[in-house]
Symmetry: C2
Subunit: 459 residues, 2 copies
């Protein structure tokens, strides 16, 4: 097993060097062939997905699978359409490979170019969702990265069908090196992949928090991803109330299972009495369970809160429930929200930096100075100003598609598109320039003059 | 011990949020105060360095320290001058913090800004060289990063004196948060630092290969650095011979202990007979021991090579010594060079990608097509074209100063300046924009229109 994985990873590494130099036209040709092949083989793929769904249905019945996972596994017609159009969209994206990012004249005839290039070999470990295969394969192909996929066993038929059809389509373009894309399927393959640090340059795990944490804890390879999404809304005393009601609601209920939904509502105490009662009633009308800190509990109680009542309260009253310390560090991924009254923006910022997961947080405010303070001091990948946290997403951020959302503070942060699959190399072009001439007592000085010149690679 | 480190690291983390938002003028004021303080306290620092050198001299005598390490420990007058002017140079560098890297209009009134910001807390672990303290502290301060230094015990007096004087100078500027810079001194502190992944965002180890490898293997924190520097020169059949002689010599002997010096010379067999004899004689005249593969050995032998003779050979002949398999994977860091004849540029590229450390490699060639192939396919941080590998250095690359050289393929590659200490955050500014309006059947489309607008933070 380890030998097989090592052989495949080493093949991918060798292919990656060649893939990094494939002309744009050939990559785009392969992408269009991929999209066409999916359309042509739709019935084969749907048949394979049906086999996965049949096995999953039995697991669902035995409670060995959640409905959410089953839904992610299922390839609907609309998901299929999105997969195909997604590949064609990537063909339209600009090729990042070979771009000159900067150029500097060190001395006459000695020019330093910083050139954008692929990272090398990407390992993608994912659960359920078979649509990850075409999405990530197209982004990796366009960005010149070889890829090893490890899909979950629950999607084994779907992943295999998709992978084989896509790779066959890619192979019709002779420029693309063989072995650039690999699919691993068995459970043991994950552990083996984590050891492949000589070959795999970056791991992208997509799945549950526990799954991502396991990966991070068990490999020397760099990991791009995020474990939890503990996001906050802070409502300032200067907030426009209607904006605050709408944004706080959308940030929670538009898709509560998403990592960019809020888990905690922080309200400035100067506005809490005015803002909270209606906000709480709106949340509860939308099925959101609220967990209050001491101060917000008192406000809710004063405004017709009913202790221990059912959600929605009695006669429009607010159902009362106290938050525990654990609530501030919990990602519910569900229609639950903790509520806290804070004395100032500074206290909100401190709470967010301490309890949040540095993912996405929003301020509701009309005070520009306070907004800038919040945007500057909140240490998160995305800071929203009077806009829903749910916008934190690769497609919405205009990246075409996303390879994941990162809470890393190295390389890529927040929603990550193709740019997260790129690095650079320096090319220094001279005509016999020696360091000894620029060292010692009679050292020639460096010019260090910026230039717009590009390094043109031959294609 | 662990509690102390945890407390310091947590203080640095808290300070980092504030430091990220200190205005440029205050940071520059602190930098100039640092430079002035060093000048004013030169005698105190030199006295401390003398104490370190006295202890080191005893270790040198007992062979518990190398001469190279002793030299790195010693603060000469010229090193001192460089330290001071280095800080003033950093004050002149543009402040990267808060720059708008890109901006995109998602919809009317909804603009996404990508803002450059500090990584957070940097851990710097280094041996001997006390001049690392002012160099790294100035780069971290200017880039808004809190820093925890862990210096080697051999430089304990120098590091402590430098650190205290510099931090006192910084503290004269009230904007700079207390606790942003920390110095750890004991051996146990290294192990403790490696566990501080909740607080430290990036580790930069500077020292021997074994030292860096130990760090990489024992922490979950991202590490920026390099272990070995196995660099190559490839001489093509189209090479200009005079250029090749000079560049290959400079790449080896200008400073053989540096990581960017070449360890292996690869020569195309079409030019080997013509090129190698004179090249080998020049190397040996400069004290370089050569280790030949089979083909180069034969060529050297035909051209007056003397088996087993002393370096420099007899009557200008070439001293013959065969390379073993291990030579191709060895970083000599010394006046030793392995020599191999290859059949093509492709074979050279394959050798480099297999045996090299992806650091710096040079091609000597006048064939543009071959040069582009080499630059494209050699998977190294720096590819030199007819120029010495010794140019791969932060100062020479125009970065002002360098925090290290990275062979990572994530975040930063090659010589790393202040840009390697930066990441970004997204700020999305709206006026009550909700995701629900952009989802479902009646979804509003996104504009995704690039804009030159900047996000201006208040200072």
């Amino acid at each position: 097993m380890e030998n097989q994985m090592r052989e495949n990873a080493s093949k991918a590494k060798a292919a990656s060097v060649l893939l990094a130099n494939v002309p744009t036209a050939s990559k785009d040709k392969a992408l269009l062939a991929m999209a066409d092949a999916l359309e042509k083989n739709k019935s084969v793929i749907m048949q394979a997905n049906k086999k996965d769904l049949e096995e999953a249905a039995a697991m669902l019945e035995n409670k060995k699978m959640t409905t959410a996972l089953y839904d992610r596994l299922k390839l609907s017609d609309s998901k299929f359409k999105d997969m195909v159009s997604g590949i064609r969209d990537v063909a339209k994206l600009e090729d990042p490979v070979g771009k000159t990012m900067s150029a500097l004249v060190l001395d006459d005839g000695l020019t330093l170019y910083q050139i954008c290039c692929p990272i090398g070999v990407i390992g993608v470990i994912f659960e359920a969702r078979p649509d990850v295969v075409p999405q990530v394969m197209s982004l990796c192909l366009k960005s010149g990265n070889a890829t090893i996929f490890k899909g979950g066993s629950e999607a084994k038929y779907s992943n295999r069908a998709l992978f084989d059809i896509l790779v066959e389509a890619i192979n019709t373009v002779p420029d693309i090196p063989a072995g650039a894309f690999q699919l691993a399927q068995s459970r043991e393959d994950v552990a083996e992949m984590l050891k492949m640090d000589p070959y795999i340059d970056l791991l992208i795990p997509r799945g549950s928090n526990e799954f991502v944490k396991y990966i991070q804890d068990n490999t020397r390879i760099s990991v791009l991803g995020h474990t939890s999404g503990i996001c906050h809304a802070y409502v300032s005393e200067s907030a426009d109330l209607q904006t605050a009601y709408a944004v706080c609601l959308d940030s929670k209920i538009q898709y509560p299972a998403a990592c960019n939904s809020i888990e905690t509502l922080l309200v400035n105490d100067k506005i809490a009495e005015k803002f909270l009662p209606e906000m709480c009633r709106t949340y509860q009308e939308n099925g959101v369970e609220l967990r209050f800190d001491e101060k917000s509990y008192q406000i809710a109680e004063k405004n017709g809160g009913v202790n221990g009542g059912v959600n929605g309260g009695v006669n429009g009253g607010i159902t009362l429930k106290k938050a525990t310390d654990a609530d501030w560090d919990t990602e519910y991924n569900d229609l639950i929200l903790s509520v806290k009254v804070v004395g100032s923006a500074a206290e909100a910022i401190e709470h967010i930096n301490k309890h949040g997961s540095h993912h996405t947080d929003v301020i509701l405010s009309t005070d520009q100075k306070e907004i800038d303070k919040f945007a500057g001091l909140v240490d998160s990948a995305s800071v929203m100003i009077n806009a829903s946290t749910r916008f934190a997403d690769g497609f919405r951020y205009g990246k075409g598609a996303e390879v994941g959302i990162s809470t890393n503070k190295i390389h890529s942060r927040g929603p990550v598109g193709m740019e997260g699959l790129m690095i650079y190399k320096y090319i220094l072009s001279g005509s016999g320039h020696l360091v000894k001439d620029y060292a010692g007592d009679k050292a020639k000085p460096y010019l260090h003059k910026k230039t717009q010149e590009k390094y043109c690679r031959l294609q």
